[in-house]
Symmetry: D2
Subunit: 354 residues, 4 copies
């Protein structure tokens, strides 16, 4: 990290950037109100910080020990930049003063099903519509989403999805699972999701980030927080800062019966909001894996400081093709939205860590 | 489990109990409004359920697969007993309609420190006073509490503790760590705590339960929920149903830096309240291990449905002999109490799982 | 799973396959010496097993509960097929009677480095040469392998690699990290590795399997065995049965300092060999993360029944660009090979689970 | 830690010890061939190391950061003491040049059963006889060992056990589960076991250590290595250095079916042998929980460098009252002993970390 003097000239800054690039690294320039900070992207051992410290206009040059820095809240503060990124998607602000509710079916099954649910969640208070088209599944023998059937089915499902978003005035988000789906998905949706199972897939992260679309990025169930943030850095290093971090549960611990699919790690919410400037949301549906816990765990997520939720809603959960046991009805969703808003007020409308 | 006919006579019930005891087992008789259920304590394989089913007055006799049954909410429901146990300690009700706040220093350090903190937490809204005298520590080279110094110091600390509870009108709770401390502690306190590290210590559980005192029982950081409940069953099998279950964090998962001491498992709260009739509280202090997360994690615990909290409070955390970095001030505690009460209202005052 | 009668005709078998495909599933036909078994690939709920059971020539039709079946040893046994797959790569047999040693540098750094190490490991007893070109890294700020620098560097490194393999008469294996690298890598190497971080990346698995090349497939550090085997099934479903399973350590458990990078799960070795017909090897280098444990953990892997090892070797570990602290010298590697061969004899040359 | 000058007098050493005790700490004096090292037991913050450094005869005084030091191999080396403790029990040496095999039934069920198995394991090569009398169990509803029935049954079982050990010339080891059993058990057995579930029970550790008997101490399934060693330190702080560390499996990780009861952590074996001077053995039976893995996991344990094994053996596993599915027959045990001895030779008879 290079901190420039407050009176450093544009030419001096450019010279430092040039020097960095000459060493095979890339530079990330943060121009704050008071000073400019230049981050190094790539292997910092390739360059001498003593050398950098002596370049004209440089106040301080030091290696940053943390495996992430571009997404760091402290780094933003030093540069005088905003410590809370607000991501705007259409009329929706993620990470702002109001809670954001993302809702919809686990998987898009048919146009009729999608529109029925979209209408239901909109009325109940949803801001963004979710729906799975390319479904990651543990077993090759399970339904893989309409995207898994054929290219044509995938395109048709994406068209319905776009149409539903437009009709009910909600931006739409769906998951990308492999590199070859990126361009197609980017054409139709407002936010691209990278799911927990792909969290470590750095090539997918880099290429998805290059679309410039906001990314809803889920933590892997075996990933520590530091690792999750380190991989988020891959996307911001592509100059896409519209990353929404999502906690969705870690591996259950201990012998015996597991009462939930995963263990929701809610202390990760305030921790990540203190570590980064990115907004943090929670997915209680996949973590719990059972309908009767969604209300309490949604409320707990907001109380922990999350700035939004992504919840699976189905008009008839018993008939859902995927994960029926964890989807709630639009009516249940409406109650949850109301309770969450009261809780948000009870904690002083504080999200983003303070 | 033996379900008696609704018109079974006292003599028939006694005969079944006698039969069970003849086989080397013990019987737990639950007399509900509508029928009587007899639970078997001990190795059920010693007895034939076909034989039991044919005894006079018996409606049904079947082996219960779950490793716990005496604490089971379903079992209580079948017997027509209350599905939510309310534990009364002095004027305080744990598991009732009102939230319960247990607060105080991590360790009792001196009479002056204890009284200062007791006064502070009482004003801030605490219902029960906590304070450690026999401290379990990972390292033999760390301060082990005043109880670790000498018998006399232990007695003196317990006397201060009792006096503080009486003066500020709060029942008091402290931790027992070994069998030899049980009698001494039971003489002075209202609630005995069995800490996470002793969760599996079945001899300690049995002997502490026999004091008849309410027990605050903490989940071990490596224990699954089923295991925790199975060990709670050891105490209820001694006919002490005044067990308060406490979630205090499980082992952190994943590579890299751990940002919290443990990972608070908040979905355990509604899960345990659906599985048992025992009240469930949360200890955010030991789970987080850092002061700046206590507010959010306390709020999240109540939103998840906990019926109370146990929080470490110190008038001067920087000078605390143990765990200073996780103790909050009485003022911070007062704010937390207020927010928690609002959240409790926002979720409809629902605790104990619905 | 459909078990055909022993006298079922080719026409009957074809008709069953056709019927399966008409329902939107694919069929995997295993023609054993005694009977034919037809596996279903895809969502089995789409088809009625009662219907299948009545087709001519069908002896039995039932849903298989396990999320994997194509790789199942039991399934192979039922079909009369081999319960131990031996994968031939050049003159090397993986999964046969002799142990297989895969060795080489963590990362290919230069032609000189590569050739020096290749020569060293060959002399010490290596059968296959390994070397990383596209390196998955937790931090975007770390060296990503020569493949991470530019397309040209990647091609040059692959050419050196091929040349080293030819010169020292060893098949070569390198890791693929993203879909866009598959074709390039497949042109140069004999075995393609899919690393732990990409274990869940089902699109990458499917496309790599389609190259027809043998795949060295590593278990993710957060994956249970069932999950690992379920994802291996994605590749076999593409009709590529040359999958080498590799255990490389799971997440460390517990508080406090971690003395190894990961925890090697050696009971996974005999377990997987009993569950599947695929050969199982172990990577002690990434699991331990420290040189002084490689000898003991290699010996333990072979004693646990592994049919081979993949070990990182560097002629000068102190100067390695990546993971120097876990690479051993060719001399140390030679001693390890000798000890492993003695141990293999001591356990009766039993690998592949018995 | 205080390192005395090589010419420090006895009086100087005594004065330092006195000074330490005056500060409320205890002193552990290690008189090596070349110099004397004085360890501090208790909270080191109570004393000034600057003050200690200036006492006559003191060469160096510094705080030791590690939570364990009395059991540290480095500490032993500095003092010129042995880096490998050999524990002598009757004619058996644990931690010496020869492997040690501890075998016997999971639970003592009857005199006849015990003698039959004792005879069988002796013939097969066992050095020490094991047998459970006070059984820790997850469920209060399971058989708790003969010690769980009545005081008389416990005494009778202990008498059989002693008699079996004497008759077949093997020292005997059984588990203590609660403080009240210590005196009784110590009267009858040669080695006292503290099981995994009691690992954290510091009062039990301290009191058992005070018997002066060798202790077989098992790692808890949720404990990190550092934590395990820290708690072992509690016993050595009572001046009992005859502690045998035992790895018996940690919590399984990951979603889906668990194929073993626990996950044997074999890299813990060489790690602990490098960290401490205490001997390390492995219990493959409880870790695997299934008979068909015991051979491979025993071999792997010895290959990893363990200096012995504790294995459950039953003449008729199908009829065992506890854990029948993990017990092997005397014949299977004999084969395992033979293979382990060959492996021990193959790795150069190296145990205790090299």
């Amino acid at each position: 990290m290079i901190i420039m003097k407050s009176d450093a000239t544009k030419a001096q800054i450019d010279a430092v950037v040039q020097d960095i690039e000459n060493h095979g690294l890339r530079a990330d320039v943060s121009q704050g109100d008071f000073r400019t900070i230049i981050g190094l992207i790539g292997d910092e051992r390739k360059i001498s910080f003593d050398h950098l410290a002596m370049l004209p206009g440089v106040k301080e040059a030091r290696m940053v020990e943390t495996p992430y820095k571009l997404i760091s809240r402290e780094y933003a503060r030093l540069a005088g930049e905003s410590e809370h990124r607000v991501i705007k998607v259409g009329n929706v602000e993620i990470g702002g003063d109001k809670l954001v509710f993302i809702a919809g079916p686990c998987a898009v099954e048919s146009k009729q099903q999608l529109f029925k649910i979209a209408e239901g969640v909109k009325k109940a208070g949803a801001d963004v519509l979710r729906g799975g088209i390319f479904k990651p599944r543990t077993s090759v023998h399970s339904f893989q989403g309409l995207g898994g059937s054929s290219e044509e089915d995938a395109v048709e499902a994406l068209e319905w999805f776009r149409e539903a978003g437009d009709k009910f005035e909600m931006p739409v988000v769906t998951e990308v699972r492999g590199e070859s789906q990126i361009d197609l998905i980017a054409k139709y949706v407002d936010i691209i999701q990278i799911g927990a199972r792909n969290m470590y897939d750095q090539d997918l992260l880099v290429k998805t980030a290059r679309t410039g679309k906001p990314i809803l990025y889920k933590r892997h169930f075996g990933a520590g927080i530091e690792e999750f943030l380190s991989f988020a850095e891959y996307m911001v290093a592509e100059d896409n800062k519209d990353i929404i971090l999502c906690e969705r549960g870690i591996l259950p611990l201990g012998k015996g019966r597991s009462y939930t699919r995963y263990t929701l790690d809610l202390s990760a919410v305030p921790v990540m909001q203190k570590e980064t400037f990115l907004p943090v949301i929670v997915d209680p549906s996949h973590a719990a894996g059972r309908r009767d816990l969604i209300f309490n765990m949604s409320c707990a997520s907001i109380a922990a400081g999350a700035c939004g939720l992504i919840v699976e809603v189905h008009h008839n959960p018993a008939e859902a093709l995927v994960d029926g046991q964890q989807q709630i009805t639009p009516d249940e969703f409406a109650k949850l939205v109301t309770a969450c808003r009261s809780i948000h007020q009870a904690i002083g409308n504080r999200t983003n860590g303070g």
